[in-house]
Symmetry: C2
Subunit: 455 residues, 2 copies
């Protein structure tokens, strides 16, 4: 019996146990963006450490960072001559707001129509857990890895990976690898696997305007105090020109526009019609004159991720608020420098704000985009494993999203990189009712386990 | 002993009891804007009814409306030959958000530095309660009113007075009066009383943009879906021109610009310097080329009272929200029609929104501005009483805020109107830490009680 069939049998026999453990993992409220969940994150890290120690041949440790701890594990029995692969994933998850739109408790995994609904069901607990399950199957099937296997599961991917970023230079020796397998990506579509060969960079910032020492009555003060809500909409509206391009001078200066041929090496999921239909989107964003694929993969973007000022509850409150603020982030393409661009935007905001209005900018860090090679050893192994598991040829794709720490890791570790995963854009990651299929969970499990054999 | 001295003695002896009752009144969470407080509003209405019945000579009743009930009371023993005065106030209060900025529980009146901190301490529980206390003193001092006294305390002033508005035509006979005394205004400054001879009109609306069926990941979708936050800031920023004027065609068409002489009849509290200092305001609003007084009293305004979209909590969430919305209100000057203008603004928003973005507008109603006469019987009585109580001549002022129901009442009842009150712009009404002085409470009490004698 070939190994893929052995793996299928193994998951058949262990399905219930694996799901139980997956559900346990999902129950930790490991929201790294919100400090009130700190103890949940620590418990979750300990659980992951215990799980890997118990169920795999990897020697695991919890490594403290300035932020939340990470779990590192390794099995180097293949020896110095063999190549090394470092798998990466994260145990933290996005916040759950708006909580009222969830149909079930985001931290009590619930099965509806054969899908698992929970925050982190896909991103990234679901994906990293099928990778860990693959390592478990190798152990339980009594097989020894042909390559050195390392694993890093961090706890701050959804909030800038600051802890791992800071400690990374010290972990360079430990993390040393030929290639990095990032298990946090999507497949091409429900039937077709994908090799993710890059993601956009990102930086984020918050801008807060203050107009007075306290909230003011909008009648008593109307016409006297400049309303920070007004100043904020006026300011933010200046960030784009009429072509949908970011109006900040210099924003596009370092963009390397790829040729049509280079772009054609990557598959793209949608055309305008299918995209609009799938997400009930009736107004398209991005730059006028660019295709959907260009705007999503080869052009940087600027988004207002949150805006808030004054009274937004039920009913009405006639207030001129003291403050109004916005959370802004940009997605970057290769060759763009996040720090430089963040300050370009910050300076633009300071320059264009209503005179007299107080402005405070909080820079939240960022990382550049990255690209992997089509023909690396790992890329070839993942492609072949995916083709076998899915019975359809793997497509090369780019991810519009960002995994900032990955850019940092490949720079520090000077290694190849490949992204894999079985997420789909319809999984509602980062949104209410995130969900995953058991079916795709098992495809992921098989792909990781078979990739290790192929290396 | 003249009546004013009798009243001073009475309050001296009854101070503790009166404060206790005032505090009881403040403890009702009577937030009319938020339906979850419905039962508190009803309990509060019953309490006011019981209090008036027990402590004054007025015969009181609770009148149900489509919204929250109102309390009506009357003492018509002065007879048909005597004039009638109808006093108006409200028992409902503004919401308390942002709750975290309150230094003490908004519904547990707390004394700090001799001031009472509570939601409604001034607006309008504090003010209407000193008026009721004045009626109580008349009873306890064994005096009969020289005029017919009517009283209306409603429960929806902070949320458009819809209940009273709808039932008003039916109550026309009952409410019939020569003059309306609105006890919900400010004094000129801490030493100087004021006669309020007008307030601005208002209308309010909510606008909601929808860009997709659910929240989207701002990386995965960035460049593809048009962000409703972006569409909203772009749309709202179009509402004003560079002169700070509302850019909606027709908005100023009906404004009757008064002459310099007409404007000079009214005192105005601030110059730019004193205003900026008092409220720590560094950017002034309103139209360029207009004085502070003009912008606050004689020009209409448009404010964004609330704006919200995406993630605004602690940390960061890389989301393109499905929806973004804003609460907008305008203050109007005499001769402007709220319904017409609300639709003018609504149509402007619909016309200028990003093509394809779904827009929904919820019109929340409004009322025009009103003006009273300097030389009405009631105006003269309040002026004289205030002069005596404060020992300083009363100034005529206009209120930048709105009491929509008052405009409706004077139209329906065809009566004179005077606004009085001992609020100050520093009382933080409609804001966190609303507060009132006992000292001013008692000035108000004396003024109302003495006004009745003077009529």
């Amino acid at each position: 019996m070939n190994f893929l069939n052995e793996l299928k049998k193994w998951i058949e026999h262990n399905r219930e146990k694996v799901r139980e453990d997956y559900f346990r993992f999902l129950r930790f409220k490991s929201i790294s963006a919100n400090p009130e969940y700190a103890s949940e994150l620590k418990q979750c890290a300990d659980w992951v450490h215990g799980y890997i120690s118990k169920h795999t041949t990897l020697k695991a440790e919890v490594i403290p960072t300035e932020g939340y701890p990470l779990i590192y594990a390794e099995d180097l029995k293949a020896g110095k001559g063999a190549p090394t692969v470092l798998m990466y994933g994260h145990y933290d998850v996005q916040p759950v707001d708006p909580i009222e739109l969830w149909k079930s408790d985001p931290f009590e995994p619930t099965i509806r129509d054969g899908k698992v609904y929970a925050r982190g069901a896909v991103d990234d607990k679901g994906q990293i857990f099928y990778a860990i399950t693959a390592l478990r199957a190798w152990k339980e099937l009594g097989k020894a890895f042909p390559v050195n296997v390392k694993l890093c599961v961090e706890g701050e991917e959804e909030s800038s990976s600051l802890g791992l970023s800071k400690i990374l230079p010290k972990l360079k020796e430990k993390f040393k690898t030929d290639s990095l397998l990032v298990v946090d990506f999507d497949q091409y579509d429900a039937e077709t696997p994908a090799l993710s060969l890059g993601a956009r960079g990102i930086f984020a910032m918050e801008v807060t305007l203050t107009g007075s020492k306290s909230d003011l009555h909008s009648g008593v003060h109307g016409g006297m105090a400049y309303n920070p809500n007004k100043a904020l909409v006026q300011l933010l509206s200046k960030l784009w020109d009429e072509q949908g391009r970011v109006a900040v001078k210099g924003f596009y200066d370092e963009v390397l526009q790829p040729s049509k041929e280079e772009m054609a090496q990557f598959a793209f999921r949608y055309d305008e019609k299918s995209y609009k239909k799938e997400f009930e989107v009736s107004a398209l964003g991005g730059e006028l004159g660019c295709t959907l694929a260009e705007n999503n993969s080869f052009r940087p973007t600027l988004e207002i991720n949150g805006i808030g000022g004054g009274y937004t509850g039920a009913g009405f409150k006639t207030v001129i608020p003291a403050h109004a603020s916005a959370k802004i982030s940009c997605r970057l393409v290769p060759n763009q420098d996040p720090e430089k661009l963040a300050h370009l935007i910050g300076d633009f905001l300071k320059k264009h704000v209503t005179p007299g209005m107080k402005i405070a900018i909080n820079y939240l860090g960022g990382e550049p985009a990255f690209r992997g090679r089509f023909d690396s050893l790992l890329a070839k192994a993942v492609t072949l494993a995916s083709n076998e598991v899915m019975g359809k040829p793997c497509k090369n794709i780019l991810c519009g999203a960002s995994i900032p720490i990955v850019a940092k890791m490949i720079r520090e570790l000077k290694c190849e990189v490949v992204g894999m995963g079985y997420g789909l854009p319809t999984d509602d990651i980062h949104a209410p009712n995130e969900h995953f299929d058991f079916h795709r969970f098992e495809k992921g499990f098989l792909t990781v386990a078979r990739t290790i054999e192929l290396l």
